[in-house]
């Protein structure tokens, strides 16, 4: 009974995800597509839960269901034209889609079989062996901030580049004050802000020994910042004084670089922490990375350079 029900659950989840992905790409109306994609993100988190990847599920919950949805919805408000598809060629496209679907299904099964047939030793044993020396108990955190800390460094660099790219394109794309005012909005912001700080700190703290850590905590904090900002709160730094922004945005990258190069002063190689201090190093880097990811995500969601004074800006 149990195995049957679990298989049914998985099958239904897979079918739903496929249907939603199809809808996100081909549904009539952009709004329907975006909503389908948001539900897709929601159910992807359930899929991560089923695949026993709680770390990924946490990040997906904060980013896939939170930040990405907010980004897409904001963009939708700024797009001047709806996507119009000529009804004439829709039938031809439908036929082409059926052909492509058959092709894709064939290719998909082939790819899945090949992937399945690959030898799968994995790196699990190596990580487990290195874990006692890494300074934390959670293998994912150990990989992210010690064993493959270089990836994390580059990743924060990519986020910083993304922020620079969006800010370089001009001023903020969506206005700061909400269009529809409601007395509930400021209350919501005030009520939720301490909760966000608390839960982010909790997720960060748990990262040392259980699923959690800098990435989900940073993503949650960033998404929380966006929510509180959309609810009408104004950040204390504006666009007129870019120096604080510069420091805040580069905080994570600078901290990682200092840790990477600093150990070189004692004759070690790049990112090779002293074993007895590894836990401390990881904790410091985690805090820096989480704060930096939060600020970077918030900056990304502004959709451009912040205005000189909050609330007075006009849209581009």
């Amino acid at each position: 009974m149990m195995a049957w029900a679990i298989t049914a659950f998985d099958a239904l989840l897979v079918a739903l995800l496929l249907w939603l992905a199809w809808q996100a790409i081909h549904a009539d109306g952009l709004f329907r597509a975006v909503i389908s994609f948001m539900v897709f993100g929601l159910l992807m988190a359930v899929a991560w839960v089923r695949l026993d990847a709680p770390d990924v599920a946490l990040a997906e919950a904060a980013i896939g269901a939170g930040v990405t949805g907010a980004l897409l919805l904001s963009a939708l408000g700024r797009l001047p034209e709806r996507d119009k598809e000529a009804p004439a060629d829709r039938r031809a496209r439908g036929l082409a889609a059926v052909g492509l679907a058959a092709l894709a299904l064939g290719g998909a099964t082939a790819l899945a079989t090949i992937a399945w047939a690959l030898p799968a030793p994995g790196l699990g044993r190596e990580v487990t062996e290195a874990l006692p020396k890494s300074g934390v108990d959670n293998p994912v955190t150990a990989v992210l901030l010690n064993i493959r800390a270089f990836d994390t460094l580059l990743e924060i660099g990519v986020l910083l580049l993304a922020v620079i790219a969006t800010w370089a394109l001009g001023p903020m794309q969506w206005s700061a004050p909400a269009r529809v005012m409601s007395p509930a909005l400021p209350v919501l912001g005030r009520l939720l802000f301490p909760m966000f700080v608390l839960v982010s700190a909790y997720v960060l703290w748990r990262g040392g020994h259980a699923p959690g850590g800098a990435f989900p905590a940073g993503a949650l904090m960033g998404a929380g910042g966006v929510l509180v900002f959309f609810a009408g709160a104004k950040p204390w730094i504006t666009g007129a004084e870019l120096d604080p922004w510069r420091w805040l945005l580069s905080l994570g990258l600078v901290a990682m670089l200092v840790a990477a190069v600093g150990v070189g002063a004692t004759g070690r190689s790049f990112f090779e922490y002293p074993v007895d201090l590894a836990g401390l190093f990881i904790l410091a880097l985690e805090v820096a990375a989480a704060l930096s990811i939060a600020i970077l995500l918030f900056a990304l969601c502004l959709g451009g350079r912040p205005p000189h004074r909050w609330g007075s800006e006009d849209e581009a």
Binding site: V180, S182, A184, L185, V187, L188, L192, M195
Partner: protein
């Protein structure tokens, strides 16, 4: 302990009809304003029963408090969300059904 677990499990089961009724309302009610009830009321009662039931089932106070927090947050979110959507709908000129 086992009795508590059973009570918890049956509370969880009791929550399911509320989710089903909420979806029924979502599908069958005639306009946005009535459909808001499905979001703001039925589903949250269902979630409340599920959280309460799972809290009893786990038998640990810390776990139960976390579940209560989750429920509280969802209630706040849907209460504010429902109010906002209704306001925005009125501002956009969506007429309530039967008016």
């Amino acid at each position: 302990m086992t009795a508590l677990a059973w009570v918890g499990a049956s509370l969880v089961a009791l929550g399911v009809p509320f989710f089903l009724l909420g979806t029924l309302g979502l599908l069958r009610f005639p306009d946005v304003f009535t459909r808001l009830h499905a979001l703001a009321k039925a589903d949250n009662v269902g979630l409340g029963l599920v959280c309460f039931g799972l809290g009893l089932h786990s038998g640990s106070l810390a776990h139960a408090l976390k579940l209560a927090l989750i429920w509280l947050l969802m209630v706040i979110a849907s209460a504010v969300g429902a109010g906002l959507v209704a306001r925005a709908a009125i501002a956009r000129g969506v007429k309530p059904w039967g008016v």
